[in-house]
Amino acid sequence: MLRKLSQRNAKRQMLDYIIYIITMIITVALLLSFNMVIFSEEVAVIVKEKSILPFLILMVSILVVLIMSFLVKYIVMFILKRRSREFGLYMLLGIENEDIAKLFIRENQSIYGGVLIVGLFLGILFYQIIKAVICRMYAVPFQFSFYVSTKALVLTLIYMCVILFWVSKRTKKVIRQLNVRELLYLDKSHSAVKSKIRSNLFMTIFPMIQGVVGIAIIILSAFKNLPEVVNTFALVLLIIATYGFFAFMLQYFLSRLKDVKWKYSNNRIFVYRQLTEKMRCMLFLMVGVSVLITLALFFINWGIYFSNKVDKRVEAVAFDIALFEDDEYADFSQYISYLSKKNKLDNSYEYSLYTDFNNSFYQETQKAVHGKFGFTISRTNTDTYMSINDYMNLRDMLGLPAITFEDNTYILHCTSENVVPLKLYVEKNPLLLLGNTQYQFGGIYCEDLLQQELYGNGNGVLVIVPDNAIDTLNFQIQVLGINTNSSLSLSEISDLTAFNADVKIISKTGIRNQSASMAVYTVLPLFYIAFVFCAIACTILSVQILSDAKKEFRDYQTLNYLGIERKQQKRLLRNQILLLYFLPAIPAIFINIFAFPMMTGSVIRDASGALQMFFIVSGIKQEIVTISLFLSFFVVYYIGTLFIYKKIIFKK
């Protein structure tokens, strides 16, 4: 009898369970997809080295199970409150607490079953997205395959059972302790307990001042290389200022509501009174949600940043393979013949690099902030020179546009970050003295030319001089730059390495593999945590917003009597939920836009102190991707919440 009753109830109460269902489906999908990364043979083939990735994913999964257990309990308690009168009635009719608890838990379990099926299916699909991210980082072609790992499946089910077991145990304990009176009035006690926060001017202005100080520090940090502790302090100030934002918005809306003209126009009075009332009750909760979104956005940003770094570093290598040997008379013929035999050789060019043992240009590059994750490793710290003939041939080989070069001039080729400091340097010191000849500055170029790795064409800067000037310089290293017609595998690179231990090899394949291995350990856990934080933020918001829906049902009925059309009522409701839902995202997005460039150190400044934020072009692109990813997640919950709210408010 009770089993039938609970099944019928579960069906009837489906509406109450929508947020619970969405959250659980996302949890299952995330857990399974990341578990599949651990056990996937496809991923093991791509990420060849023994990695700490499985360990990291396991750790994050345990964290997810812990967080989700609390979150699920939070939603279950919300549903219990909504249905407390029904359970109270059962108790009045003589059903034991124990049986009511069983009924409620059984109901949850039957929903759990459906959730698992959908979540596991979505998890299998989501795994393909993760695989695509890994393939992209390793530049391996992605192939969709319907792969299911039994081990991952079992592990996910274990995780879900842990969540279900813990939540059921807690729920049972709560229901056991309730009496009829408590159950009958549980939904009322909720609103009575909820305290209203009265925000005052001090509590509004003080955090806002902290926010301004935080932003000021970040701007200052762009001019002066401030210590990390100061930057972290700025970030903390910004997060505290989140409270100020909500307190300020509340004060702002309340002050607008004093303006008769404003409040009595466009039906604002209803929407903004409802909004300010909710904000008063949910001020700290909104701050908490906003901080969660801030962290989620940071994690997504970091994930994309590290993922992009792989591509950027590989592109900067310029050649498919570059061979370096300290011997001026190095013989690279066996490498050429190996690649020819494999039909891989497209073209190659051999050249020498020189040095004058000075480091004037090199010193200038060190003044620029390359970014905390810029690759500035090099085995040399003196200026590197190349003849114009070799330079022209290399440009031709790499498909770069031809340039004009006048006698008695020198040109610089550097990484893009070094253009501004070097330009400023040559404005002050335009002449270059080599032997007895002075050379005029003839221009600066910054295309990718292998200048960021351990071996390369200078460390960040290369000086190109007329061929006859080379005689005054000392030999530094012999280089063979090779372009292949298809990318080489790691085993082919290792074949080449075996020819001569003295020859150092830098290849796009090697750099990608090395860089992707480093990135994948960080990118995947970051995305994992980001999605979990998004789910938590959305769930808390949805549950809180929905908790007052029943009360608002009466308000909308009154509006109906007063003659507001149903269409207009729906618009009012949409605006009200939209404001409540997206308000916490505003400070989070703002903090990310400001603080993220500072965190990555990707703000560069020139000698005149002018700001040159990388953020302006690539930063905006990345921020758009980050915000889109986050919003796509957020919109699912928003639509779900609005749907339930409408069903409650506009039920017949």
Partner: protein
């Protein structure tokens, strides 16, 4: 006299064919402009059903209701809200004030919905609040005022639009006797001085005695009609009590 409300042979059924319940049975009556009519009847007599039909919240099964010469049956669903907005004012037993709005804003709401200019809204609401003696609680919220004050606010909200007809559903049901008396006097005042047309549904003979005319509803049809005419309110009250005891229903207190 100009007839505002004309109810012609109205029937209302609930339920299925096999289990049909007749809530209103051939109801017929008129309300003239400036009248204060009470409809009395015990619980389940069909008072609220009748009120819902007049207020366009519910549809009649048969018959016609004309409000200001417009047959409500001909109203399209999308016209109903606007019709209510322009022609009707409501006073409910449990006030139905919006808790998030101040007293002043609750009263202003019907005008704001009609897009009345803000300054005009403010002026009308302020003068009405002064008239009803609730201007001192203008900035307070419903949770901060007494039941009597809440119902005064509800009265002001119903009247602020100058509707053709004010429908009051047991307006004194949630009030103590002093507040109830004050509210009924206020309704009488609005009726006498502002020519507000009021149709009040109640089960309380004392409240009904404030009307000019009382219609007795029992089991879905009118049993009797009493006119106040030259009677004092007290005399009218006693004649209502007598009628109630004769026809059954609510026992006199």
């Amino acid at each position: 006299m100009n007839t505002i409300l004309k109810v012609v042979d109205v029937e209302k059924y609930y339920g299925t064919k096999s289990n049909l319940k007749k809530a209103l049975d051939h109801i017929q009556f008129n309300v003239d402009a400036g009248e204060f009519v009470s409809i009395m009847g015990p619980s389940g007599s069909g008072k609220t059903t009748l009120l819902n039909c007049i207020s366009t919240i519910d549809m009649v099964s048969d018959g016609h209701i004309y409000l200001n010469e417009r047959d409500l049956a001909t109203l399209l669903p999308k016209e109903m809200a606007s019709f209510r907005r322009k022609n009707l004012g409501f006073i409910f037993q449990d006030f139905n004030l919006l808790d998030t709005l101040s007293i002043e804003e609750n009263i202003a709401l019907p005008l704001a919905i009609k897009n009345t200019p803000a300054k005009e809204t403010h002026r009308i609401v302020t003068s009405l609040m002064q008239r009803l003696g609730i201007d001192d609680i203008a900035t307070k919220f419903p949770s901060q005022v007494s039941g009597g004050q809440k119902q005064r606010c509800a009265c002001a909200r119903a009247f602020v639009n100058r509707p053709k007809l004010i429908l009051a559903d047991e307006p004194t049901g949630a009030l103590d006797s002093v507040s109830a008396k004050q509210l009924l006097e206020l309704l009488t005042e609005l009726n006498a001085q502002e020519k507000a047309t009021i149709l009040m549904v109640t089960h309380d003979p004392f409240s009904a005695s404030y009307g000019n005319r009382v219609l007795f509803l029992k089991d879905g049809h009118f049993n009797k009609e009493l006119q106040k005419k030259q009677m004092s309110r007290n005399e009218f009250y006693h004649s209502i009590l007598l009628e109630v005891s004769t026809f059954g229903g609510e026992e006199p207190c």
